[in-house]
């Protein structure tokens, strides 16, 4: 195995991860809610689930993050997106992610961070499943096609 030392960012990734954990833990401790982006979007899309304004407040904060980062963080901390996928792949990927996360009832935040932190076996299975096909898909597009 060859390590990509040029792009490897151990400290900022660890720091970013810690912030994700702090936000997830604080949301549950303060509001009693699981920080799962899939669930938050579900509540916003389907009004019957929109039982409280916390989802809108959280999403607004999420949307404000790039602006806040621009003003308060050094530019080298925030990485510019590099997107290899073409438009057709982006659309196909979006549909797969939307359908799949609703079907599996969670994504990287709800199952990955919150679920693993709760020691949920169900979320561990979900996380291993989506990481598994993530590895396979990138292998196929980078080394087979």
């Amino acid at each position: 195995m060859q390590i990509d030392w040029i792009h490897f960012t151990p400290w900022t990734s660890l720091l970013g991860g810690v912030l994700l954990g702090v936000a997830a833990a604080a949301l549950f401790l303060n509001s009693g809610r699981i920080l799962g982006i899939t669930g938050i979007l579900e509540g916003v899309l389907a009004p019957k689930h929109a039982d409280s304004p916390w989802r809108f407040a959280f999403l607004l904060g999420l949307f404000a993050a790039p602006l806040a980062a621009k003003f308060f963080l050094p530019a080298e901390l925030v990485q510019t997106p590099r997107i290899d996928a073409n438009w057709a792949m982006v659309i196909a990927a979006g549909v797969l992610v939307g359908y799949g996360t609703r079907w599996g009832a969670g994504c990287t935040s709800g199952h990955g961070i919150c679920g693993l932190s709760r020691l949920s076996v169900r979320s561990l299975v979900a996380t291993l499943s989506f990481m598994g096909t993530g590895f396979v898909t990138v292998f196929v597009i980078r080394h087979v096609l």
Binding site: F56, F63, F135
Partner: protein
């Protein structure tokens, strides 16, 4: 007041995604590409998040309600079933294909990235599509 706290937590989560590299699909695919030149960064994102999360959720297990007074809504589902696995396998395929998962895509969209915007629209369409199929099943 609660909404202000929840706004700040959304902001914190978004900044965490930006700093960690999750909003950069190249970095996500670099992590998923174990057969190529591998970028292990995302393992540290997950490690850092779960490390802090473990402390928070362990603390929450000793509490009867949240600080705001609202009940602690622990997820009730524990079963490992077909929807969980098939849905997650499908999600991972899309994640690998473009390098975006839902949270980072929303943040990259808010940062003005055009491909992230199209990804989010397709993702919302996928979610609506699922709801249609599901309601037909019922």
């Amino acid at each position: 007041m609660q909404s202000v706290i929840e706004f700040v937590l959304g902001l914190l989560f978004g900044v965490g995604l930006l700093i960690s590299g999750m909003t950069d699909p190249g970095k996500v695919q670099g992590f998923l590409d174990v057969a190529g030149v591998w970028d292990p960064s995302l393992a540290l994102v997950m490690g850092g998040g779960v490390m802090v999360g473990l402390l928070g959720f362990t603390w929450a297990k000793k509490k009867h309600s949240s600080f705001s007074g609202a009940p602690l809504q622990w997820p009730e589902m524990t079963q490992i079933d077909r929807p969980l696995v098939l849905g997650s396998l499908m999600f991972g395929t899309g994640w690998g294909l473009a390098g975006f998962c839902p949270g980072p895509a929303l943040v990259a969209m808010a940062a003005g990235n055009d491909k992230a915007l199209v990804f989010v629209l397709a993702m919302l369409a996928g979610m609506v599509l699922f709801d249609r199929f599901k309601s037909r099943d019922n």
